[in-house]
């Protein structure tokens, strides 16, 4: 099934591209948005992911699903962005905006904030597993890390998040 999709993507069949983008873009955007904490960056990286994917669709061998493959590209785009972003971080006038955009997700403020106090590798594993609902093997495919490492990161991420959220809950209770 995916081989047919790949063939159509290679010839840039418009309908296929439309469906392909529609099927995956929200998923990838959410992943990138939660990793980058910045709406516009996430949009750009999502777009870049699709462009990279379409350019290298010939190299898609079907060893993993299209979704996993796209996540791997997205993850690499994010990793490249993060390297660049760190150089800019404290001095770039836009980083304050990233902070304010956290407010976009009021409903999940507690968890969202707590997520970003995690080590990046733990955050990535947590988002891929819990939010993107990938299997450990798929995450391994995306990040290039061994399954055991991912398990460990997930464990530590959950523990830390639980601790932080429990702390927030207690604060809320005390305040009321």
């Amino acid at each position: 099934m995916e081989s047919l999709l790949v063939e159509k993507l290679k010839v840039k069949d418009t309908d296929t591209i439309n469906k392909w983008v529609a099927e995956h873009q929200s998923d990838l955007y959410r992943f990138l948005r939660q990793l980058t904490r910045h709406t516009e960056t996430a949009e750009d990286l999502t777009q870049q992911t699709f462009i990279k994917a379409i350019r290298s669709v010939n190299s898609f061998e079907g060893r993993c699903s299209m979704r996993t493959w796209l996540h791997r590209i997205a993850f690499n785009e994010y990793a490249a962005w993060r390297r660049r972003h760190k150089i800019l971080a404290p001095l770039n006038p836009s980083w304050g905006k990233a902070d304010s955009n956290i407010g976009d997700v009021d409903a999940t403020e507690g968890l969202f904030q707590a997520l970003h106090r995690l080590h990046p590798a733990q955050r990535e594993a947590f988002l891929l597993f819990e939010v993107q609902e990938m299997s450990l093997e798929e995450i391994s495919e995306v990040t290039g890390d061994p399954v055991g490492t991912i398990k460990s990161r997930l464990h530590h991420a959950r523990e830390k998040l639980r601790r932080e959220l429990s702390h927030s809950f207690q604060q809320v209770i005390h305040e009321h």
Partner: protein, 302 residues
């Protein structure tokens, strides 16, 4: 009270509800189907980001802390990008409770720099030469932070320098026990530093923003011949960007370059009390020089 499984799941489910903007899909499809358009859009974007990166590098890092070889390259790139511009002005604000307070103006011309800071009394003073010199010479040297170099509501409790972990990506989140163990090995002099070990990493405090105050640390990582810069602090054991700081005690873990040929690897942990500041920086390039009457000026709030 601990969060239970159900509550935890509910929090995660809420994260899944984040949706993409409705315009994104069409934008992506257009970008794929119209590579020419896409190319120009990205060319502009990359140039924009690249220039600001270069400028930041040249203005702040290049002029102050980055080793000379990196400085020259960064400055050269900026000159090329801006057709020979060599003068810059940066203005730094701290943002406290939504209000911006100007705290410093720095003027750069060639290798010369003058910085004016707003101190805690609201007066603008020129950064003392010795501190400028201190910053200039900082890369590759032992970090020596004396409390007198910090002001008012910030108080250094103690300072500790730790050596770097094995991997650059983990350099900013480390287990102090592991570090201590590694440090003992390093100090023993029996083992050569390994790749990506302490000899390739150094950390300097960032003097951006607050009144001499250290708001973040700049971690300089040497990867082959390229120096890259990481920022961050460790807050309650977690890596965080400086703008995520909350009230409370902040612990800084400092890495120091072991190739500096200076006695080092003293162990220090820096804790600062007080409310961290959030800093914004504005850039202005193209020939601004310090006004002659700039030395005294009252605080400005916007």
């Amino acid at each position: 009270m601990n969060i239970n499984d159900k509550q935890f799941k509910q929090e995660i489910e809420a994260l899944k509800e984040e949706s993409s903007p409705s315009s994104l899909e069409a934008r992506i499809v257009n970008a794929i189907l119209d590579p020419k358009k896409n190319k120009s859009r990205y060319a502009g974007r990359i140039l924009g980001v690249g220039i600001s990166t270069l400028l930041v590098g040249a203005i702040v890092f290049g002029a102050t802390m980055v080793p000379r070889v990196a400085t020259a390259a960064a400055v050269q790139q900026v000159r090329e990008a801006f057709g020979g511009v060599t003068r810059y002005h940066t203005r730094t604000y701290n943002v406290i409770e939504g209000r911006r307070r100007k705290v410093s103006d720095s003027y750069f011309e060639g290798n010369r720099r003058e910085t004016f800071i707003t101190n805690s009394n609201g007066a603008v003073i020129k950064l003392p030469e010795e501190l400028e010199q201190y910053q200039e010479n900082f890369a590759g040297q032992v970090i020596d932070l004396s409390p007198s170099q910090l002001l008012d509501n910030r108080k250094i409790i103690n300072v500790m320098v730790m050596i770097a972990p094995d991997s650059i990506s983990d350099a900013i989140v480390v287990d102090p026990q592991e570090l201590n163990a590694s440090q003992e090995t390093q100090n023993s002099g029996k083992d050569k530093p390994t790749k990506n070990s302490v000899n390739e990493i150094q950390v300097v405090p960032a003097f951006i923003g607050g009144e001499y105050g250290i708001e973040s640390l700049r971690i300089l990582l040497k990867n082959e011949d390229l120096w890259v810069i990481e920022h961050g602090i460790i807050l309650n054991g977690h890596y965080t960007d400086c703008y995520e700081l909350k009230k409370g005690t902040i612990k800084f873990v400092v890495f120091v370059d072991a190739t500096s040929k200076l006695p080092l690897l003293t162990r220090q942990t820096l804790e600062i009390e007080g409310e961290p500041l959030i800093t914004e920086v504005e850039y202005d390039y193209g020939g601004t020089l310090p006004p002659k009457d700039f030395s005294v000026q009252s605080i400005k709030e916007e």
